[in-house]
């Protein structure tokens, strides 16, 4: 661990701080010097995917070195490491302590997380840390739109993104977001991402928060009909339909037999395929089920 090594990590850290986006790509080193990164106009930072190992090892050696335990040094070494190894909980914990002692500024840290989330849109630890910070910041300072936009972005970047939709559920609850407005946003989002069954699962979650009646379920089924007319080969649409039926069957008031028979009729209008066959098998099972013969 030499001074030059520390300068390298410091340099990387300040590049990460200044840049608006980060990416990993292979860069060519020469005999004379190794290329660790390439920075363009303080906007775009490219980290060399071929030189990950020495940087990670250096960061770890600094993070756990007796001589580099000052707050500003830990801020630097963990910032760099987390770009490379985002799931390293211990490094996030170090940053939590730095944030509590006000070495790290909340707004700057949220910005850092924004950029990292573009790089690692499904990182569980990143989202957990973000929620922890938002709780530190206090409920009135959190920007609902910013968080919802971040959820949209990460959900689009990574298909069926569990961590992103979990964050969204938390935001809705924590900030008491209006469910009807959220249902409308979700409808628009699904129009462009109709194969995303996590998006549909979230929709069902929103519905379950409302006072449900047969009309509401019927409207959802109609919307699903319209989609199935064009996209009958998308599994997500069929699974959502199944979920709606399960949801409907939760109410005592609904005549289950009538509901299931009506369903069996209505899917006859849709072109038959692998999913529709599976779905009608389920409906028939639910109709005839005595609780024992669920599947043969």
């Amino acid at each position: 661990m030499s001074i030059t090594n520390w300068s390298l990590i410091s340099l990387l850290s300040s590049s990460i701080e200044q840049c608006k986006s980060i990416e990993f790509m292979p860069l060519t080193s020469t005999d004379e010097y190794k290329v660790y990164c390439c920075c363009e106009e303080n906007i775009y930072l490219c980290l060399n995917i071929l030189e990950i190992k020495p940087i990670v090892n250096l960061c770890y050696s600094f993070i756990f070195s007796k001589d580099y335990q000052q707050d500003n040094q830990l801020n630097i070494s963990t910032r760099v490491l987390l770009c490379y190894i985002t799931e390293c909980l211990t490094s996030w914990n170090i940053r939590r302590r730095l944030l509590l002692s006000r070495i790290i500024n909340i707004q700057e840290e949220l910005q850092f997380l924004d950029i990292l989330l573009n790089l690692k849109p499904k990182s569980e630890q990143l989202f957990r840390y973000r929620r922890w910070i938002l709780k530190q910041e206090g409920i009135d300072k959190v920007s609902t739109n910013k968080e919802l936009e971040l959820c949209d972005r990460t959900a689009e970047k990574h298909f069926i993104n569990y961590a992103s939709w979990l964050h969204r559920r938390w935001i809705i609850q924590y900030l008491n977001v209006n469910i009807d407005e959220e249902l409308e946003r979700n409808r628009l989002w699904l129009e462009n991402n109709l194969s995303d069954s996590s998006g549909y699962s979230f929709r069902a979650h929103l519905l379950s928060k409302k006072v449900l009646d047969e009309n509401l379920i019927r409207n959802e089924l109609n919307m699903n009909d319209n989609m199935l007319e064009f996209y009958y080969d998308r599994e997500s649409l069929w699974i959502y339909r199944q979920t709606l039926i399960f949801l409907a069957m939760k109410f005592e008031m609904i005549d289950k037999k009538q509901l299931l028979n009506k369903e069996l009729d209505s899917i006859k209008n849709i072109q038959e395929n692998f999913f529709s066959n599976k779905y009608s098998r389920l409906l028939n099972t639910l109709l005839s089920s005595d609780g024992k013969q669920f599947r043969t």
């Binding site: 957990r128 979650h205 080969d233 399960f246 692998f274 599976k278 599947r295």
Partner: protein, 339 residues
């Protein structure tokens, strides 16, 4: 007719059909020794679980003796955090409930429970339980049903389940049950095969599976066996995801707890797991053709064990709740509920 489901194409006429036991053992042992490689440093943050995957898999393959057990015991003790009573994944790292379970599983497996400070371990776990019965994984505190499972599994292995409030812990698990019959990581979160395993495992260990009524059990088992993909025969963890060998564990073990493992097409799944072996290096990957790792190797072998594809002389029987060799669970006389 016949719309394709999101799946991978496996050319079953060309893939590996035999179980490569010796190669897997060599792969696993080599992994434990690869201290100089990048992969080794990059996985520091979960190393304790890595060692558990490796040792459990070797044990299932009757080959635990091939590894330096003293070295591992030494490592575990270096990861013990006296202040909290928990274990970290790697020396210098922070302790966490996830790695505490791995450490306890290892010490039980290596027959060194004498090294566990039961009292501090119990108080460590107890202070992670929240008022609503849920568990946080560490002092920074996010709640997850995975942590509930880790807590009761640890306590069960040291015969101290009464340390925590089981009624409230059970109520929390039940509050994570969704209307599709699945479980998520917190109330209202999307159903996920991994979380379902944790919740069913929890209910099995505290012997409260009766909380699930008949129709919920059926619905849940339906959801689980829908995870088997038609073409490849592999299992996914959620709808529309690609098949992944590790779900051969999470899904199968859950179905085993529910007494419905026969709902899975055994032959097709066995073929998929065997096709995911790397016939050059040994080890299993997430799906055929990818790079193998100890995580998928364990869950592939453990899946084959649950499917009874091979005789016990080849793969030992695995316990479906604790993912440890059954002979150890029998020896300790640990009781759990299976439907």
């Amino acid at each position: 007719m016949g719309t394709p489901q999101r799946d991978v194409k496996v050319n079953y006429s060309e893939v590996q059909k035999d179980l490569l036991i010796e190669k897997h053992c060599a792969f696993l042992i080599g992994y434990g020794r690869s201290h100089n490689t990048y992969e080794y440093g990059a996985t520091d943050y979960l190393r304790m679980s890595g060692i558990y995957w490796l040792c459990t898999c070797l044990d299932l393959l009757h080959s635990l003796k091939l590894i330096d057990q003293e070295h591992i015991i030494d490592y575990i003790q270096k990861c013990y955090d006296k202040n909290s009573g928990g274990y970290s994944p790697c020396p210098n790292h922070d302790p966490h409930l996830l790695y505490t379970l791995s450490a306890v599983q290892l010490l039980v497996q290596l027959n060194r429970t004498d090294l566990i400070d039961k009292q501090s371990l119990c108080s460590y776990i107890k202070q992670l339980q929240q008022d609503d019965g849920s568990f946080i994984g560490d002092q920074w505190g996010e709640i997850d049903t995975r942590f509930s499972f880790c807590a009761v599994a640890c306590l069960k292995l040291i015969d101290s389940l009464d340390t925590i409030d089981i009624d409230r812990a059970t109520n929390f698990i039940m509050s994570c049950l969704n209307f599709d019959g699945g479980f998520g990581c917190i109330p209202g979160a999307e159903s996920h095969a991994g979380q379902i395993y944790c919740c069913l495992g929890f209910l099995s260990l505290v012997q409260r599976l009766d909380n699930l009524d008949l129709s919920t059990r059926n619905m849940l088992a339906w959801w689980l066996c829908e995870r088997q993909l038609d073409k490849s025969g592999g299992l996914n963890g959620r709808p529309e995801k690609l098949p992944d060998v590790c779900y051969s564990w999470w899904v199968l073990a859950s179905l085993k707890i529910l007494g419905k493992i026969q709902w899975i097409n055994r032959e097709k799944l066995s073929k998929f797991i065997l096709a995911s072996q790397d016939d050059e290096t040994g080890g299993c990957s997430d799906r055929p053709g990818n790079i193998p790792d100890p995580f998928h190797t364990l869950f592939g072998i453990a899946g084959l064990s649950l499917l009874n594809t091979y005789d016990e002389n080849i793969i030992r029987k695995v316990n479906p709740v604790l993912c440890m060799p059954e002979y150890i669970i029998q020896k300790l006389e640990i009781k759990m509920q299976l439907l």
